[in-house]
Amino acid sequence: MRVPGRGWRAGLGWGLAVVVPLAFLTAFFVWPVAEIVGRGFVADGRLDLGGFADVFSRPRTWRVVGQTLAQAALGTAGAVLLGVPGAYLLHRCRFPGRGALRAFVTVPFVLPTVVVGVAFRSLLVDGGLLGGLGLDGTFTAIVLALVFFNYAVVVRTVGGMWERLDPRAEQAARALGASPWRVLRTVTLPALGPAIASAASLVFLFCATAFGTVLVLGGRRYGTVETEIWIQTTQFLDLRAAAVLSVVQLVVVVAALSVAGRARARTERALALGAPAATAHRVRLRDPLDAVAVVVTALTVAGLLALPLLNLVVRSLRTPRGWGLDNYAALAVPQDTLAVSAWQAAGTSVRTAVDATMIALVVGGLVALVVSRRPRRAAARRAVAGLDALFMLPLGVSAVTVGFGFLVSMDAPLGLPVDLRTSPVLVAVAQAVVAVPLVVRTVLPVLRAVDPRQREVAATLGASPGRVLRTVDLAVALRAVGLALGFAFAASLGEFGATSFLARPQEPTLPVVIFRLLGRPGAENYGAALAASVLLAALTAGVVAVCERLRRPGIGGAW
């Protein structure tokens, strides 16, 4: 018996929807990573663990691994401790200006890593506003920057869940005589456990793979596996050691991702149980819970989030000859030994980001579409789940690994005799690899939320499979696609990890220019770096703000 509604054309369409992303991932992710792993394990065509033995016998390696884990652990702890009260205040309480505050706390997350590094450094450096604390180039500075960066992840993930938590369980506990603290400890926090775990594992992942921020703030003393891969490749030219470290990074990432995946699954289950109750109450400062949340959040927002950003803007206006726009004027001319001006680099960044966003949108959109389906057959269902997991890998597999992998594999991609390393497209492709998981995570929840009966009802009204796709799935996903577009564009614009390996000297992107300017001596170069950072921050935040406006409330993943 033939299966109705699944003609050869539909089969071909779905086949393409699977093959295109798979081919992309194979060529630009699996192949480069395999090449790296090969370099780590294989020498002269034989399995050789000598590289591992060598790298792991260096005390430097152990120091870097230790620092990576310590930074990630402390950064995660800080983000969770500050973020949970923030989630409560911003998602469970009402007060004037809440919408603006919610938007503001998201800003750090979309800022380019290099900009975050520059912002903290300009604050903590000798002669900076907080230069007296002596935190410049310290471990503490790095951890603070990581918390700054990931605070929004906790607030959004936990807050999104908190909003939907049925308040009647808490009310029942209160009626049974529990104090507000006891309710928090015994009812609310356990219910939020999966969401907190999910957010924490993501934050750990982002911290463990942090690159730009650490490179700018850590100097020579502090690094992560990521920065170490970069240093081994570009400074010591030890590709073998870089390959071994990439394998180490892969192990850390896969472990963190599997924890995150499990926590996310539990969150989704818990969400299905809870009634969607939107119950925010007015802030009551007399209530001890509210008071603590207000104080913690006020200190965090003012001291940790706003201060570095404001300081960055103010400092960018200070020149050796007093206050003025000289640093911004300097963006129009090539500084120092750079081939291009910052404005030209910004142009390159935008053009590359447009290309990368298009690629990421096509690939990520197709993945989200395929993965959102619930096939009847168990084998097909497992295949869909596998595809879902596969495309999450680049989310964690660090940008540096992608860049390094491109460097070692794209002289002959998949064995084909075309050297892509000289192609300007390569940077866009690398940025797209990094942006694809963002697109999938943003679009997928929206597509999954489409009731399958909507498609069925459309079909019974005479809509062909193509029209169902267009009028049901795409129509619903459109707003989320806007948000995904913004995230992907912002991520590409600020991408530094992969780009730092691949950008051609005559065509650097803006983050690369900022990093190079920082490395040059002289107040003018430093001032230009600050001004360029403000420009880049304004660009990314602006793009995300516009796309966020397109979003319908409640749509889009809290990922």
Binding site: M1, R2, V3, P4, G5, R6, G7, R376, R377, A378, D451, R453, Q454, E456, V457, A458, A459, T460, L461, G462, A463, S464, P465, V468, T471, V472, A475, V476
Partner: protein, 349 residues
């Protein structure tokens, strides 16, 4: 050649399920008729409906229209409309956008608008074209969903518990409206429900389904008067069952009275060894005067103004008996009862 829908020996099986959801069902729905599929939840009636729509692929059997198999016709070309329990309106389209969804895309605008207006009139929501569907009440949503399903003039309309999500008063009113709309438009329909009253109010014929099989298909009156089996009778709401005693065998006065009254009324066959099924009201409280049949009042309740008592009758068991409005007594009291043969049906043994 037969006209309308023919379902022949259809089997639907879900992977991992021990028994098939639909287990060899034969059913016909001639053009212009409304058939209700009545059964408890999980009996397979929705699966059968989905198989007819083409949303579920039967592992065996055939679905045909006017004698031509539609097994190979994809859902969107079958011309079978479908109305879900919760309407499944498209939230991103307004009322008119929803209703017009199934109309040919290239048809001229005025004709589309005229058809939309005509359908909204039909379902009692004139002038709501530009309303956001999120602002509609539950009943209004179902009306819009009905208009949307009818717009492309489906040759068969499938309704999957279309009124179950609504409250009772609304459900009863909408059931009558639905019947009107279906007969006015001459729509052939297959209607799934678990509510007997709803099935009886809307359908020309009712098919009772249980555990994947059809137990009985009959017009509402005939189904009520002559359920084919005890299972059907139970599902229709018959609450007590009494074996018909052999002619000379000793029997309680209540059973005797039941047999005599039913025989006199001639409404039910009384084969020896058969069973009498008693609906609520098979006994009526006789005010005053000694009666041969009595029962002990256990519970007194009022249902829509009428008094209903649960009585324990010797030889029969607990049954619901009706009393006139305002009648009352203390629980535990012994009351006289008479039989109302209209609420008694005879089943083959």
């Amino acid at each position: 050649m037969s006209d309308g829908l023919q379902v022949a020996d259809v089997v639907v099986r879900y992977p991992g399920a021990a028994s098939p959801a639909v287990d060899g069902v034969d059913l016909t729905v001639p053009t212009g008729e409304v058939v209700a599929l009545l059964g408890p939840s999980g009996c397979g009636k929705s699966s059968l409906l989905r198989a007819v729509a083409g949303l579920e692929v039967p592992v065996a059997g055939d679905v045909a229209w006017d004698g031509v198999s539609v097994a190979d016709v994809p859902v969107h070309r079958r011309g079978f409309g479908l109305l879900f329990q919760d309407g499944q309106l498209f939230a991103h389209r307004d009322v008119a956008g929803n209703v017009a969804y199934g109309l040919p895309e290239r048809r001229d605008r005025t004709a589309r608008e005229a058809r939309v207006a005509e359908l909204l009139d039909l379902v009692g929501l004139p002038g709501t074209q530009r309303r956001d569907v999120a602002t509609l009440s539950g009943g209004e949503r179902q009306r819009v969903a009905l208009a949307r399903a009818l717009a492309p003039r489906p040759r068969l309309l499938l309704l999957d518990e279309p009124l179950s999500a609504l409250d009772r008063a609304l459900r009863e009113r909408l059931a009558l409206d639905l019947r009107d709309v279906l007969t006015t438009t001459g729509t052939t329909a297959l209607f799934v429900t678990h509510d007997q009253d709803e099935a009886f109010a809307v359908a020309d014929r009712v098919a009772v389904m249980d555990a994947g099989r059809l137990l009985q298909v009959a017009a509402p009156g005939a189904l009520w008067a002559r359920p084919a089996s005890r299972r059907v009778a139970e599902f229709l709401g018959y609450e007590a069952f009494v074996d018909v005693p052999a002619a000379e065998a000793p029997a309680s006065p209540a059973v005797r009275a039941l047999v005599d009254a039913t025989r006199a009324a001639g409404v039910a066959l009384l084969p020896p060894g058969g069973v009498l099924a008693l609906a609520a009201g098979a006994f009526v409280v006789a005010p005053g005067g000694a009666q041969p049949v009595t029962g002990t009042v256990e519970v007194l309740r009022s249902r829509r103004g009428r008094t209903e008592v649960v009585v324990d009758v010797a030889g029969v068991g607990r049954v619901s008996a009706f009393a006139s409005a305002g009648w009352t007594c203390a629980p535990g009291a012994e009351v006289g009862l008479v039989v109302d043969a209209a609420a008694v049906a005879g089943l083959p043994g």
